[in-house]
């Protein structure tokens, strides 16, 4: 009964492409996140070493993970946008 999306989306010709790059970008981020967790578990003292502008590795890596998430997100959006535009033109 009335089982359709609240807003109709229509077919997405870029879906496969977006899924593929999404997975790769996810794996890249997951690997860096895993490295962060691994350092904390295996070499916790490394985290208090000063590495940049008087900041220790814990702060730089932690802030870095947040900033990198945004950078990756913007790159992903840019790539998806180009592909979606190309598909529109091709139509």
């Amino acid at each position: 009964m009335l089982h359709e999306p609240a807003a109709q989306c229509g077919p997405d010709a870029s879906a496969e492409y977006k899924q593929r790059i999404g997975v790769w970008m996810f794996l890249l981020y997951a690997a860096i996140y895993a490295a962060f967790v691994a350092i904390n578990l295996l070499k916790p003292l490394w985290m208090e070493k000063t590495v940049f502008l008087g900041l220790n590795l814990a702060v730089v890596f932690g802030f870095g993970l947040i900033v990198f998430a945004l950078i990756e997100a913007l790159i992903y959006n840019h790539m998806c946008g180009i592909h979606e535009a190309d598909n529109k033109e091709a139509k």
Partner: protein, 632 residues
């Protein structure tokens, strides 16, 4: 003034709610805001949804008391958005209508999926509601001077009113306004913290006189403790694990002191404490508890890069310099630990000083024992896994993908959310540390650290920050209750039981469900008083990641996934995660049992329940391949 600002805020939220109520008539409007919200607005509303009491109150509080360990929650919560953006956002938008169950069930049309996904949505929403309600109670206690339970009931009543009137449209705009204000005012508090700088004699901008805790010299003579200051007489001592707490009397007032033996010298350090007497009366720091006689706020710096006194004060500092100074091993931060002991029939809770060097405060280890036993390390790993995988499985986050018109808008709103949330999480570091260095911490609960920090800059900022925090709770609870009511009215009643509701009946059923869930949330909020809200949210993430994420991932990436596999995975993830939590040390402690006897050594269940849920999905799907193929 604080109360006036606060009430204005609540009135504005309710006004907005009633305004949109007039416009919301359809089920699509109630559950998914008609699918017509702009992606920019939706992105900030995402931030509003996500930056709940856990983020604002819980993370700041945990950073204030456990340093960098609190910030790990910020990192994990933000990293979870990567899973949401790259893996879940667009497919969820493509597959669903109102709820996450729709998306899971789009391919199969299975009654089993409808039932269990709806139950999972309900359970996760209720788990997530608990910390929000606890946060609400904590907030209104100092602001309006009413007890915790009254605060919880008040929030519950307001939220039920909001949800029962307008649904997702009002919730979206409330979240948008609140999300934006939260980030802006957190930035203002952060700039104020940096401008004030660091000092070893914090006086909250002249509002609260700096209090210097005393240290008394003592020596042992024939086994008895003798003090150099003859004004004090020793009245007894109680050993607690490796430490000793000494009861002294001065001018008829009894006080508790922490004994320290170092280099052959004995020192007694002043503590704060509460005594619960057998007759039910309560003493605070030796005198009867009253509105005036409460525990002093804790925190402050013992030394700044090895310096103390006026010469140690830094004046305004930059954001990097601030963190650099606090990471220095010669910067000593005053924290405290809670020690419970018995003195005859009296139950004593001592808040004993515990000085931490900056290098330890600013790396993981104070709360999460990353240098501890393998089990403790596993617990940390389990938490980080659940935080990473939990975001993309939260029902109230997933339903927000249905409020925008297209997949591209779902993606863009997620990116706006990442920017806003990421920026806010950076600010949590400064607000949490700002609260401790300004000695603005309530020793009993760390959840109020951010509002109490704001109070050191004046009543106006305190009122605004408290009102935003309160709106944070209102907004998040509204979103959660809508998710839960959608699960009941749309998934269970309409689609599973096939009651054949029309649009109007579905909205009415949703509102009744919202009322019932709201009442449950109120009761749980009262029951879980005193626990750190971020810790509680971590548990909700673990349940969400265990019950929902394996199904979402596998349905997108594994063609052999079957309906029975999904249903089994949801049940396994939900039951195992909740079961492990119930028998964990934290829950044993909460319910007055000895945490050491808890059968599950982990506080965070994700490391067991998430892989288990994946495994069950794969095994059941493989086992049911032929049956489903032949049935088809």
């Amino acid at each position: 003034m604080a109360i006036a600002i606060f009430l204005t805020f609540v009135a504005a939220v309710l006004g907005l709610s009633f305004y949109f109520a007039a416009k919301t008539k359809s089920a699509s409007g109630y559950f998914a805001a008609g699918g017509q919200i702009h992606w920019g607005v939706n992105g900030i509303a995402f931030a509003g949804d996500y930056l709940s009491a856990a983020s604002f109150l819980g993370i700041c509080g945990m950073i204030a008391t456990a340093g960098y360990d609190g910030f790990l929650y910020s990192i994990g919560y933000l990293a979870g958005w990567i899973v949401a953006l790259f893996v879940v956002a667009e497919p969820m938008k493509r597959l669903g209508k109102y709820t996450f169950t729709d998306a899971l069930d789009a391919k199969f049309n299975s009654r089993g999926i409808k039932l269990f996904a709806a139950i999972s949505t309900l359970v996760v929403s209720v788990f997530y509601l608990i910390p929000q309600m606890v946060g609400a109670g904590v907030l209104v206690e100092p602001l309006l001077g009413i007890p915790h339970y009254a605060g919880v009931i008040m929030v519950g009543a307001i939220v039920i009113t909001i949800v029962a009137t307008a649904g997702m449209t009002s919730t979206t705009y409330v979240q948008f306004i609140k999300g934006a204000m939260l980030v802006v005012f957190s930035l203002i508090v952060t700039v104020a913290v940096l401008y004030r700088g660091l000092t070893t004699t914090p006086d909250q901008g002249g509002r609260v006189p700096f209090y210097q805790y005393k240290t008394l010299e003592a020596k042992e003579v024939k086994g008895a403790l003798v003090l150099a200051d003859k004004a004090y007489a020793v009245k007894g001592s109680v050993p607690v694990k490796t430490e000793t707490y000494v009861k002294l009397e001065n001018s008829g007032v009894q006080t508790w002191w922490q004994r320290s033996d170092r280099d052959g010298k004995i020192a007694l350090k002043e503590t704060q404490y509460e005594v619960k007497k057998a007759d039910g009366s309560k003493l605070v720091n030796g005198l009867p508890a009253s509105k005036e006689n409460v525990l002093r706020q804790n925190g402050g710096l013992e030394s700044i890069k090895g310096k103390t006194g006026p010469e140690a004060a830094t004046g305004p500092v930059g954001p990097f310099e601030f963190l650099s100074i606090l990471s220095d091993p010669e910067t000593k931060v005053n924290t405290w630990k809670i020690v419970k002991l018995s003195d005859g029939e009296d139950k004593v809770t001592v808040y004993a000083p515990s000085v931490k060097p900056g290098n330890k405060l600013m790396r993981p280890g104070l709360k999460f024992k990353v240098e501890g036993t393998p089990v403790q390390k596993l617990d940390f790993l389990s938490l980080m896994l659940a935080l990473f995988l939990g975001t993309a499985a939260l029902p109230h986050i997933l339903i927000r993908y249905y409020t925008v018109p297209s997949q591209a808008c779902a993606r863009k709103s997620t990116i706006v959310a990442i920017a806003a949330i990421g920026f806010f999480y950076v600010l949590t570091m400064y607000m949490g540390l700002g609260a401790v260095i300004n000695a603005a911490l309530n020793p009993v609960t760390d959840n109020m650290s951010a509002p109490l920090l704001a109070r050191t800059f004046g009543t106006f900022l305190f009122a605004v920050i408290s009102a935003i925090a309160f709106a944070t709770v209102l907004g998040t609870v509204s979103g959660l209750i809508i998710a839960a009511s959608g699960a009941v009215a749309h998934d269970l009643m309409d689609r599973y039981l096939q009651l054949g509701f029309n649009e109007k009946q579905k909205v009415r059923a949703g509102k009744i469900a919202a009322f019932v869930v709201g009442i449950i949330a109120i009761m749980l909020g009262i029951l879980f008083q005193g626990m750190n809200v971020s810790f509680l949210v971590g548990l909700a993430f673990a349940v969400a990641a265990s019950a929902n994420l394996p199904s979402i991932i596998m349905i997108l990436f594994w063609k052999k996934t079957t309906a029975k596999g999904i249903a089994a995975s949801i049940v396994t993830g939900m039951v195992s995660a909740i079961g492990l939590i119930m028998f964990s040390p934290s829950m044993y402690d909460k319910f007055g049992l000895n945490p050491a006897t808890a059968p599950v050594p982990l506080d965070n269940p994700g490391i067991i329940s998430i892989p288990l849920s994946f495994l069950v999905l794969v095994a059941v799907s493989l086992f049911t391949q032929k049956k489903e193929a032949s049935a088809a």
